[in-house]
Amino acid sequence: MNNKTLAYILAILTILALVAFVVMRQVDGFSIQSFSPYRRLITTGIKNTIILSVVSLLGSLVLGFVFYLFSISKVKYLNAITDVFTEIIYGTPLLVLVVITAFLIGPAFGTFNRNAMGYLALIMYMTPYMKNVYQSAFSSISRDQYMTMDLFGFTPYQRYRYIIISQVIRILMPPMMNNFSLIIKGSALLNVLSYNEIYYAVRVAQSQTFAFVEGYILMWGLYLIITIPLSQLTKWIERKWAL
């Protein structure tokens, strides 16, 4: 076992010791098992959180790329639209955006599907952050490389497919993972639309078991179960694609 593994084991043990300490100091016992009758509701919540997060990730990856292209476009209007949109999103709490998208923007365009609008809100919210990820990653490709691609006559598709993406994926992954965990955590706010994701499901169960604190502990565990394997996966992809 090398030093690094040992350090990680120690770090995890430290956190577990802290958790054990906090648990033992509690006067009342825990009754997580009181949630077991609601297993199906909560499982659906987990499934929906994952679906919502993956769809939002893919949506914001695509829209973020479009906005990245806008931001480097020679058309000034497109640059301006990107800037204005980014500023507005930066200053908007996700909760506000979800409510406005579902209750005002959706109906204005004739859509009363609140869940779909909730998805859209999350996608819009993440778009500027994804745009930034692309910006920093693509700026790592030197001007000389673009000149070389010009010289040999690469098409735009060939540039991205063979030269740019394979180099930037390594730089792209860590901030992308950051954004993905923002999405997963942000998805909890769709409970205001009564969308059955983890937060909503556990809250419903809580209202019947009255196990208030336990519900939050359960929620915490469920989010960690999703995010930790994901970040490990990201690290693996990074290593696999490293130069």
Partner: protein
């Protein structure tokens, strides 16, 4: 080859080329020399079509240099090798042949190997650019320029980032290419290479062509600028 410059001006923030006019015909290896900032690198980029002049017209072998047909007939070697860092030396060449020239993969690879061997890199073909020396990377870049079978090869200070030993290694490799029947246009500070390899020399100073002629102008400079330049680089 035939080179025509008509009223060529170029401006970045300041005017870097001031109204160049030139017709050259029948030379095969043209050197452009001058101090840093004299406009020589700009001129070679314009002649290769990598950049467009602010004003004026450039034709090489009767092609407008911004035409697609012209671009297919040239190779360019940059100051820094500009190899794609994530591809092996072989792949740096074969990918271009495969994707931009529509050559079958197997053939593209055999062409890549042929030119890498010509530049004495047969043992390095599967290495990434970061794992070979600067001189080897620059030679791979020359192999890449040759691989598209160009009529003219441009070299823009190909040894400026190399130490004297690697410089010698790269320039010797270029000299060996003389028999290929290609034309060369190059910028360099290495005067011994100019004397050995060039059949025509253009000396630039402050955005203008001050002297030009066969390499003997280096031994009998007329202008003060060339005299000063020769005395410093010799």
């Amino acid at each position: 080859m035939k080179i025509e410059l008509v009223g060529v001006k170029h401006t970045y923030d300041v005017e870097v080329l001031k109204d160049l006019n030139l017709i050259l015909d029948g030379y095969h290896s043209v050197a452009i020399i001058g101090v840093s900032g004299s406009g020589k690198s700009t001129l070679i980029r314009l002649m290769s079509g990598l950049e467009k002049p602010t004003n004026g017209l450039i034709r090489v072998n009767s092609f407008h240099v911004d035409s697609e047909d012209y671009r297919k007939k040239i190779g360019f070697v940059f100051q820094n090798h500009n190899l794609f860092p994530h591809l092996t030396l072989k792949k740096n060449i074969s990918l271009i042949l495969e994707k931009t020239r529509g050559i079958e993969k197997a053939e593209a690879e055999s062409i890549a190997l042929k030119y890498l061997a010509m530049l004495h890199l047969e043992d390095q073909v599967n290495k990434l650019p970061k794992n070979v020396s600067g001189g080897q990377a620059q030679r791979a870049s020359i192999a890449r320029a040759l691989s598209v079978n160009p009529d003219i090869i441009f070299l823009d200070e190909p040894t400026s980032s190399l130490d004297p030993i690697l410089t010698h290694e790269v320039l010797t490799a270029v000299e060996e290419l003389k028999g290929l029947g290609k034309d060369f246009i190059f910028v360099t500070h290495v005067m011994s290479f100019v004397r050995d390899f060039a059949d025509y020399v253009i000396f630039m100073d402050q955005g203008e062509i001050v002297e030009m002629g066969d390499p003997s102008i280096l031994d009998h400079p007329k202008s003060d600028a060339l005299k000063a330049f020769i005395s410093k680089v010799r």
